[in-house]
């Protein structure tokens, strides 16, 4: 079975949407000036009670999970040997590389003493192996590089085809070497997210005395791992649907339809693990205590169970709108689970509350806008989407 090769989408970059994104990114950059000149207190809603806000909970904890499309697809293609999904890998690697780069950049903005970050990878003698956060930091730093290397064949391909003479000779010498190393880099790309996505769950086990019983679990590492898998698949579906709508490329409905049962079973696994754990430890009654905790808990559960049911049905194999709706619901439920674990379920005691400030939200929005802009620039210039290839050339 042969796939259509990926080709650049081409076309005009500066569409009104792109220009709007540029505006948001600029506003975010302006807000960054306040954060770096006056400190975190002036720019954010964070306090000594809620020392972590949306920059950690959304930009890092959710942002990296949304970048797990590459990880989730690579598991299928390279480990389970399902080659037919290969056309979905390259755009997923790009989304992953951008998502992780954005998360890593957000960390620089969030930590108070950012100029010392270089000490984490270099001062090996200082490493504290008790700290799940250290494991996350080292893995994320490495994985950002791994993702860009995994994506680099797309850049080399373009340089070989239509680069300057310098680019062409570089691509010709680096290409074969990269090909030989790729299996081991891909394997690293499978190992690292397994480690740090589970560790993102371990991070919130340390403050267990401040955690709500519906979110605290000794299974947090496993739950976060399964969660990043279905968020990864949902991102692949959402991204494919959005690019075919926004960029006018071919729809990949059949391929995404084939993925539907896998997605459904991962969702079911997550819900079963979560409920099983809560029930066995006797924490489930907390889900029936009226109030905000139970409300968010059931909303998360519904947002994940509904798409699981839909994805097992026939419509999900044939209808793009069904696939897209299911993916959006999975994204909402999965994101909410992560956000709730880091913000809602965390209770530092009476007297503290957290709501992000306008500048804080603007900086996050600016990063997302910049990420979308870079994505659009790359898919228009470099061979990423095989759905951009006209059908007759298959």
């Amino acid at each position: 079975m042969s796939h259509a090769p990926a080709t650049p989408v081409g076309g005009k970059l500066t569409t009104p949407f792109f220009n709007f994104m540029a505006l948001v990114a600029l506003a975010g950059a302006a807000a960054l000036v306040v954060r770096f000149a006056q400190g975190l207190g002036a720019a954010t809603g964070m306090t000594d009670g809620y020392a972590w806000g949306i920059w950690i909970a959304l930009d890092v904890v959710v942002g990296t999970a949304l970048g797990c499309g590459g990880y989730a697809m690579a598991l299928l293609v390279y480990l389970a040997n399902r080659g037919k999904y290969h056309p979905l890998v390259r755009p997923a690697m790009l989304t992953g590389a951008l998502g992780y780069t954005f998360a890593a950049t957000s960390i620089i903005v969030d930590v108070g003493r950012y100029w010392g970050i270089w000490k984490i990878p270099t001062y090996v003698a200082w490493w504290n192996f008790d700290s799940a956060l250290l494991e996350v930091a080292l893995c994320v730093m490495t994985y950002v590089m791994v993702l860009w290397i995994e994506f680099s064949p797309s850049i080399l391909e373009r340089w070989r085809a239509s680069g300057t003479p310098g680019q062409r000779s570089f691509a010709e010498s680096a290409g074969p070497r990269l090909d030989r190393a790729l299996p081991w880099i891909i394997a690293l790309g499978l190992l690292l997210p397994t480690m740090h996505q589970s560790s993102l769950g371990t991070v919130m086990m340390l403050p267990f005395s401040k955690m709500h019983a519906l979110w605290f679990s000794p299974l947090l590492p496993l739950l976060f791992l399964v969660n990043c898998l279905f968020l990864g698949y949902a991102m692949v579906v959402a991204e494919s649907t959005l690019s075919s709508t926004g960029l006018g490329t071919r729809r990949e409905t059949r391929l995404l339809g084939a993925l539907a049962p896998t997605m459904a079973w991962v969702l079911i696994l997550f819900v079963v693990l979560r409920f099983g754990d809560l029930a066995l430890r006797g924490s489930l009654p907390a889900a029936f205590v009226a109030g905000k905790y139970a409300a968010w808990f059931w909303l998360e559960t519904l947002l994940l169970l509904a798409p699981a049911v839909v994805l097992l049905g026939r419509n999900a194999r044939e209808r793009a709108s069904t696939q897209f709706g299911a993916a959006l619901s999975m994204l909402a439920g999965g994101i909410l689970y992560r956000f709730d674990t880091y913000i809602l379920a965390y209770d530092p005691g009476s007297g503290w509350s957290y709501f992000p400030s306008a500048l804080e939200i603007l900086i996050t929005a600016g990063f997302v806008a910049a990420e979308v802009m870079i994505y659009l620039w790359i898919v228009r210039r470099f061979p990423v989407l095989s759905s951009a290839t006209p059908a007759e050339s298959r």
């Binding site: 042969s2 700290s131 299996p183 394997a187 190992l191 397994t194 480690m195 401040k210 299974l219 099983g276």
Partner: protein
Amino acid sequence: MTTLTRRQLLQGAAVAGAAGAAAVAVPSVAEAASARARQPGDVGLLYDSTLCIGCRACVTKCKSANNLPVDAMNINGVPYDAPDDLNATTKTVIQVAAQGDRFAFVKRQCMQCLDPACVSACMIKAYQKGPDGVIGYDQSRCLGDRYCQIACPFNVPKFQWSKAVPVMVKCEMCRHRKEGPACSEVCPRQAVVFGKVPDLLAEAKRRQAASPGKYLARIYGEHEVGGTQCLYLTAADVPFETLGLPKVDGTPQPHLSTSIQHGVYKGMIAPVALYAAIGLAVWRNTRKGDEEKKP
């Protein structure tokens, strides 16, 4: 807030096992022992809420001994140094717990846990326990990621939110002063006593025994979160929770998370083995001149 009971926490070990999840195997959670036993040289504070008159001499002396600025609050148009909680300019504070027309004071500062969450949290060991068990902070290692604040069961470390070049602020038991902590030195009522922890425990029990019925028959910090070096006494009718001390059990805060980190990453054997297995599988699945499967 539905808080976790110790039972729920421990049952987690059984669940983790039942799920057969190799990635989260929790070794020996059942014996929730402290990682560090009490040492004879450990020093700490004993605070006796029944003796404290709320004069706040300790708060003022702490500020001058640690070069901390005032936390000014206007009361009837007059500015006072009146911190209401630990913060970036306050390493110890006296708070009042009122119950009807009765009230009691409580002093807050770092508890100097035997198995501290801040030490466990910090990526590059900006917090380390000294030979006397006091948790020292080294700002040259601090990245300001504030995981210590998330981790601490007592919400002790504070961050300089208003500074572009911030550090963390917490009581280090005046380890820069030869004469020991400033707060205990100025207490006029022996409500704050500094000393070796075994002596402090003995003194606390002596006070409890000397005035039957006066004290609650418990010493906060003797067993909480696996033991702390700062200890509290309270009146028989004023529970520690009323004073604002969190209700925690004897499990050291870092116990579960470090068991997982150590279990999974011990000697990096599991990750390396997993990498080798994945590498072989990927290599097998991509050889056969399979151009199509290049990313």
